[in-house]
Symmetry: C2
């Protein structure tokens, strides 16, 4: 990775075009999926010539992977407080808000396309692992404070938290309001009280 682009003669590449391309790619991918989206459509949506895209990315796959990675690497500071309910609520709300947007539809597409295009799956799996790890840290701290049973299976508990939210996001499509999030949290805490 090159920290600072070396100065090259001629007109520098447009940062505005960079961003417009990534944004348009994510939008198109979210709406149409890998096979359904076209590079022409991305160019039109970004208000950019197709050559401007192919000057940056070697192929359609490259383009999509770059747009996905850009989303994944938007960093997020996971909650690390000492309030179990508040920390869990922050995680679930972040999942809900993050996956309700364009990125969420894109994630749905990745879930489908990962079979035929494994390159796309990698970044997404990294995102999932990152979220799971932050939930796990919250659980471990709660155990240390004696708020949860020490002998629980953290994987199962994490699934119990995240599963219902993803289920509504991906499968049933039912809305996820604050009352729902609190219900999930209360249920799991009740099941794993020490």
């Amino acid at each position: 990775m090159q920290e600072i682009a070396e100065r090259r003669p001629g007109r520098p590449r447009s940062v505005a075009a960079d961003e417009a391309i990534l944004r348009a790619t994510l939008d198109e991918y979210a709406e149409r999926g890998y096979e359904g989206m076209s590079v022409d459509a991305v160019a039109a949506r970004a208000g950019v010539g197709k050559a401007t895209i192919y000057r940056r990315y070697q192929s359609k796959t490259d383009l999509i992977v770059a747009a996905g990675s850009a989303v994944v690497h938007e960093d997020w500071v996971p909650p690390a407080g000492d309030d179990l309910r508040a920390d869990l609520r922050a995680v679930l709300e972040h999942i809900r808000d993050g996956f309700s947007t364009t990125a969420g539809r894109a994630a749905r597409m990745v879930v489908a396309d990962s079979w035929s295009h494994p390159e796309l799956a990698e970044a997404f799996q990294g995102l999932v692992a990152q979220r799971r790890a932050s939930t796990r840290r919250i659980i471990d701290k709660a155990i240390a404070r004696g708020e949860l049973a020490a002998n629980l299976d953290a994987d199962v508990v994490t699934d119990l938290f995240a599963g219902p939210v993803f289920y509504r996001l991906f499968i049933s499509g039912a809305p996820i309001d604050d009352v729902y999030i609190d219900s999930i949290i209360d249920s799991v805490i009740r099941a794993y009280a020490p």
Copy 2:
């Protein structure tokens, strides 16, 4: 709906071709998705001429919807015993086994394609509603027997059951063994004991 096809002159349509087409369509769709699969590939896989497909279905969309409906309408008798754990286990195992096969990959594709092809989503939503209803009946009977709290929110409880299984199937890809299923069931029952 015509119960019995009226006798028509000429050679009758091949039932073997009917079945081969639907099976090949489901396979191709599960692997490639709506945009990615081609009718030519379906014909080749089914060992059938393309004309034989278009004699039965007006379009690619028609074909896919028919293949999906055939899967959805394979009926399944939901458990209706008086053993709460056994009934829930049967539901979760049925979800796991059903969605681990080709049909499961197809379902993932429907989740993705339902945005751009709402026709596909309808049958799938019917399937989801049917599974939810059977879980709900089990919960209601358990409440009547006094095994679960009477004031629980059945929607939340259903999500807590189904969510983790779908989460593993669709998102994390982790295996779903019998121990896992029992852990989910135990956790939820513990959270909603009367």
